[in-house]
Symmetry: C2
Subunit: 570 residues, 2 copies
């Protein structure tokens, strides 16, 4: 039996701590100014009175989702708008039942309150957004048609996505000086489609945590329970979409950064196959790194909106005209499949970190319902998951963390615990050679073929699995911060397979999901299992992940619709 190490730091491999407290002092005024600008960017008329913002959000569980559903500070009209899908909003705007201004105002109002409770935003710019919404309303009035397939849809954007004229720091203090002259390609595409931008959302230092904490604006709280992590690295997006502060958000994902926050917020999140949504023009440490490429993708409370986003972005947005990395593959119209035509292979355990009781229950519930509906459900025996995990971790740090350190060093900012963990992946500070990198790429490609052969030869349509071994864990528990284990998502980043995170409709329940006797197989499994306390995660959403073949993103989303019907979601 393996037990969790008494001191998590015993697992750290990195040694080159580039923080410099004295240097960091010189950056504190800039951080203070940024935080003040954020505070000032909240329109006073939308704010919850300070007296109503609980002062102990980090000490006592607070449910922002429930608060927003009930608060009198939102009018019934605002609530109706913000609880509609983007698909519905478009319909109503086209029918002139709603204006883009009304839609924006409602979401901005809800977003400001949600931010006060979860700290999900880095920046609001509601005034600018209102000007834009007015123009869209005028366009519709003059031309008698929507300005584009995302006309008037408020979309939240992960802060790392470059925005012309706005600080774009990506969670690195030293990048507080970075103000791009041009919008990222995805911002250009979405604006061309009619989207309205009003808020940019939080992310972790290094962008390499499944949590969203940094030295600039601090940590984002889970909208269901303020003690829990919102996940990361697109944690601001998870909290935004989870609070219905936005109907659609854009995150990025190199190891689980869309799927973990979506799962922890109980919403849909799609990690598309690479090269479908442009990542050109963002801040990250991955410049020129193509062994495991980051992807961008949508989060939403509605699977229809996930499809709306993908179809509009690709077919009308034509990102390949702006970024030749983006593939000119149309988004195909794929019908919701018949259950009896589907074979789903379920990964109940990846062999490295066994799912905790709520997640195991969620998987069982989902597969039971699928079977009842006529889906052919088989068990997936994990294929070389240990190798997947090893290769991914070696690749994440194969430059010896050089790029990360060059982005951290200029500010001397202190390294957060999960940064120390991320810098310890693979061989930590030891830079591999190009030859070693190529060998790992070759291993990756071998594994990609292994999985593709599995799908093809067994006529399996999808793998159903967790997004993380548990529901959202507590941000800091007994001095330990998590999540540590990325395998359930990072396996599919290495394989470059599309993965849809989706709600099961269930929530962690301390009465049902009791802790079980179990002998961990490794230190990391021990860490993840030891800290599980049913009473702490009570009420956290339970999601599943649906993984399809490479570039079969359309089939994954169509199956997500079917599963939503079967599970009676929405």
């Amino acid at each position: 039996m393996v037990s969790a190490p008494a001191n998590i730091e015993s697992l750290y491999k990195f040694t080159d701590d580039v923080s410099d407290p004295q240097l960091f002092e010189s950056w504190k005024p800039k951080i203070a100014a940024y935080r003040q600008a954020l505070a000032d960017s909240l329109p006073a008329e939308y704010k919850l009175p300070e007296s109503e913002v609980p002062g102990d959000l980090d000490e006592t569980s607070f449910n922002t989702v429930q608060f927003l559903r009930e608060t009198k500070h939102l009018t019934p009209a605002e609530r109706e708008i913000t609880e509609s899908s983007a698909t519905e909003l478009l319909r109503k705007m086209e029918a002139r039942q709603l204006s883009a201004v009304a839609v924006l105002k409602a979401f901005a109002h809800r977003a400001v309150i949600a931010h006060q409770l979860t700290n999900f935003a880095c920046e609001f710019f509601v005034h600018e957004a209102l000007q834009r919404a007015k123009q869209l309303d005028e366009y519709l009035a003059v031309h008698g048609k929507l300005a584009g397939p995302l006309h008037g849809i408020p979309i939240s954007l992960k802060e790392q996505i470059g925005h012309a004229g706005k600080i774009t720091h990506g969670g690195w203090v030293a990048w507080l000086d970075n103000v791009p002259k041009e919008d990222a390609v995805t911002v250009q595409v979405l604006r061309n489609l009619g989207a309205v931008f009003y808020v940019r959302t939080n992310e972790p230092q290094t962008l390499m945590h499944l949590d969203s904490n940094n030295n600039i604006v601090g940590r984002t709280r889970n909208p269901h329970n303020s003690l829990l992590t919102a996940g990361g690295s697109s944690g601001g997006e998870g909290a935004s979409v989870g609070s219905r502060a936005s109907p659609l958000g854009v995150g990025t994902d190199i190891g689980g950064s869309i799927r973990a926050p979506a799962a922890f917020a109980g919403v849909y999140g799609l990690r598309p196959t690479s090269r479908r949504i442009s990542t050109f023009g963002g801040v990250s440490s991955g410049k020129g790194q193509e062994s495991i490429v980051a992807v961008a993708g949508p989060l939403s409370s509605s699977v229809d909106d996930i499809e709306l986003f993908m179809r509009a972005y690709i077919n009308a947005g034509k990102p390949w005209d702006l970024d030749p990395w983006s593939l000119p593959i149309p988004w195909r119209q794929v019908a919701v499949p018949e259950p009896r035509n589907l074979t789903v292979a379920v990964m109940y355990d990846d062999g490295l970190v066994r799912p905790l009781p709520p997640i195991a229950r969620g998987l069982k519930h989902t597969t039971d319902k699928l079977k009842q509906a006529g889906v052919n459900v088989i068990e997936f025996k994990p294929l070389e998951t240990e190798k997947l995990y090893e290769v991914a971790n070696l690749l994440y740090s194969c430059d010896g963390n050089h790029a990360q350190k060059e982005m951290l060093r200029p500010s001397g900012e202190p390294l957060l615990p999960l940064t120390k963990w991320a810098l310890s992946f693979g061989q930590g500070d030891r830079a591999l050679s190009i030859t070693e990198n190529r060998e790992l790429n070759y291993q990756r490609d071998r594994l990609r073929k292994l999985y593709n052969d599995y799908f093809v030869q067994n006529k399996v349509d999808f793998i159903l699995c967790p997004n993380y071994c548990g529901p959202a864990p507590v941000c800091v528990q007994d001095g330990v911060e998590g999540p540590y284990y990325w395998g359930y998502t990072s396996h599919f980043n290495l394989l470059d397979l599309p993965g849809l995170t989706a709600p099961t409709g269930l929530y962690a329940d301390q009465k049902i999901d009791a802790k079980q006797e179990y002998t961990p197989r490794s230190a990391i499994e021990a860490i993840e299992h030891d800290k599980y306390k049913p009473e702490l995660v009570h009420g956290a959403p339970i999601c599943y992940q649906l993984v399809g073949r490479r570039y079969f993103d359309e089939e994954v989303v169509a199956a997500g619709k079917l599963f939503g019907q079967i599970l009676e979601i929405e």
Copy 2:
């Protein structure tokens, strides 16, 4: 003015010569056995009598193309078959006017003679092919339909493409022991489509020459003039298709390796965008290297056959079921465009090595004809071609040639002159760091966007340019071997743009293409220009290259059809 260095070796950057004459001695019996097996693989009944094979092919110009057009050793029926396109052959086989056996026999006969004259093959297996052709004929008789969209089409394959049960050495002596257990994915796909394999073709040591010479079977001669290079690295394919020893061949291209041999043989060759044709299962030094990826693609005397190959391979072959690196993008049906709807930007000079008189004439002829037909022709002012060349060369050797040396070292084989040149690209033996590699990838991506923006913002459909600064040069001239300059093709490997090589219908002519006064701008330009002697390259074909946007392969091929009509080719 820069002049060519007196000693080409002064330009070599590599220092680590891994050859070992003593060790190489121990490999000579294996090489001899391989050569004997090749000689034995030529069916006696197909061979030109030894007395009729000129003994001075390497000293005196011999035109294999003309010989094959006229020789009495081929029957009229054989000539009719071998001078048909694959598209025509399919039609005739479907109509039962021809059997697959008759087709195979005719091409095998012509191929054996062509090999005796050009040394294009590494291996024949005609008996095996006849069995296969018989099965296809039986299939057609029983089922009343073709076995697939390439039913009975003889296809030559570059030797590096793995073939189950057959030595696959890729031009490296040390790989004479390599006998793959499985076919490469492309072999599997083509076989599933009905293709018949009977010959595997030659390539250079390291696969990194625009010539095809190695220490195993020696050099392939140009089918138009035995003194000239057949080009490389798919030089065996160029000679095969150029001699009509095969109607279709498969080559690979990382810096010009399909286009140079096609250009030197006066045939069509397509370097598709990456990930359309699988390269899985070949021998190369590029395992896990993805900064400039190798691609596979077809060569043919017919542009219709280029399209036939691509459409069949992708739409019916579905390579993504066997290799998830292959993109599931269908081959789109694109109509031959109207001339007046096209804008073509012509690169008369890339700014680094000015085209020699025959190539300049070919470009002018082509653009004149295009203009007469109504095409909008503008001049392309090369965009950062120096940077393209520098980044490509640094990337080719960024592992310090580690992979190459690991493949050369075990045999101790002597390094051929063009191997020494290839090992001198970039920084030669100095391995870059992963950080440097990523910076180069970033530069590459910046350049890709620069070119994509050029196409989109100027509404340019294609760039028209040379494949190489000259027609096929003499293999060895005054002790110097060439070609040295890859820019006209490698620019587009770095940019990952599809390029179609196509005949202009013109040939180098010593009476017209006189040497001109010119002051070279660099040592490499001086080398390429100094050695130009109109009388030596007289009769060599002149081709152009048509380059399109990334993944707009279909448009490139469709335009190639139009240009063929305009230039009255075929």
